[in-house]
Amino acid sequence: MTGGPNWSAIAMFAAFVAFTLGITWWAARRTKTRADFYAAGGGVSGFKNGLAIAGDYMSAASFLGISSQIFGVGYDGLIYSIGFLVGWPVILFLMAERLRNLGKYTFADVASFRFAQAPVRSFAAVSTLAVVLFYLIAQMVGAGQLIKTLFGLNYLSAVIIVGVLMTLYVLFGGMIATTWVQIIKAVLLLGCATVMAFAVLFQFGFSPEALFTRAVEVKASIAAANGAAAEQAAAKGLEIMRPGTFLPDWVSAISFGMALMFGTAGLPHILMRFFTVPDARQARVSVLWATGWIGYFYILTFIIGFGAIVMIGTNPAWVTEAGALRTGNMAAIHLAEAIGGNLFLGFVSAVAFATILAVVAGLTLSGASAVSHDVYATVLRKGQANSDEELRVSRITVLVLAMLAIALGIAFEQVNVAFMVSLAFALAASGNFPVLILSLFWKGCTTRGVVTGGLAGVLLALVLTILSKPIWVDILGNAKAVFPYTSPTIFSMPLAFLTIWLVSVLDKSPRAAVDRGGYLHQRVRAETGIGASGASDH
């Protein structure tokens, strides 16, 4: 690619956009109530929801980011994949069915179930918006860079296009359109990744050892070309077979591991997906499908990353003499061109872009529902808002969030995408996750406890992140990072748990007695679903 427009990519992209707008038009006619808008009327089957969850989760950071990370440093990229996957079984065992049984539209329904509504929902809205905004920045920046490289557009118009399309999906089609866009994109992405991984393995007679051997040789030859002696070069090549410098110290390793595993269980746009299924059984089935697809996808990206080393690792059009990508995050895209020429490149690019659009739509929807359902309808209107009023506030929020996302996308053009995503995970693991776990499983937990503890965790995670290298040094221009580790979670998540526990234990208010008294009934409903209605308006 020369940076000029790639017409086959643009044609595929236009076809996809036209198709998804058709779906949005169709969904818009079915989106009448807030139950449709937030939760697709609660009528999505477990299989479809599983695909949609997989779609939400296989973001651009996963497909483009992880494959490029593997292309660059090999094994370290796999650590991301593993961490992103192992959160799923834990969500299934401890949360999925209980969420479905207790909640209706947002995870705050669950977190605030037996507590004072206003404070807990206000906390949930704040932490939801924080997670959603950081995640949005990452996706917007990724989309902007992708469109810029592929279509030859400038970054500004690229970001605006993403913002406008995403607004159309969510504004008119709500959760029904978002779910279908997510499902279609998941199928396309899984298809593309399968073709690419198959093509790579085919060249090596389906022997991973042969693929790895060649990749090690390529990395060694790059080292040799850059002046390393034979022995050094061989050692350099072998580095892609083991964990390297990505998590240099033990604090970073454990902290990062915690953020990925527990963060998944606190992402509001993922938790929201459990309200689109009719009952706990379907919630459970959807996690099984989602875990299967996501795991399969990560194994494919591993092969794709190594395939990229072998097939494009020394191509001077895409890679510098030192072996680095000329445009970051584009390893899978270049590999697609090497495998299937311009047409396949166009297809994979369109799918990669669709991936970002769909994830951005899901994020925006969960941010909007936090504002309209949790803050407006419950805190401000004390549950007296009707479906139409709530929908209107949702749609206004979507517009505001879209403008905010575009503005932030422009402001953060230079930020590292993978880092922003891991920050969103750290915030989710330090706020939403401890609040949900303790409100579900600990009788002694009180309103005061979850609000102070949740806020403490989120704030510490934020402050430590600002003090760490990617912001304190790279953006603010200070000489040395105050917080030297990769992720804040090892400090902020235990702080949240401890604070919730301590404040709850010391809480002697009349409200605390109500909170504790509500536990057993909450438990019955969480375990059995008795008294839980579907996501319908009645």
């Binding site: 094994y75 996957l85 179930f113 991973p208 390297g244 706990a280 008294g531």
Partner: protein, 109 residues
Amino acid sequence: MAEEDSSGDAARYDAVLADPRYQRLVRRRGRFTWTLSIVMLVAYFGYIALIAFDKAALAAPIGGGVTSIGIPIGIGLILLGILLTGIYVRRANKEFDPLVDALKKEAGE
């Protein structure tokens, strides 16, 4: 949500709480889910501990080739996650769902 927790529901919930089938469900499912969760946590944080304290252990080549032991371990963790999920869903469908259905029927749903 609180407004739905009418007195009628409260009486139904008290009845379920006293039901031995409910107690059996909660005890068995609780033990099962926490066991599976601990298996996943130990496996994953065991792996993370190797990355934290002994990266070289994952670098050992297997079978005389270049493939390191870290690769099957890593892929194995992904497969373990899927497997545990499958084990839970299977038992939940077979054993826990009928118990829940019986309780729901008793409660008039």
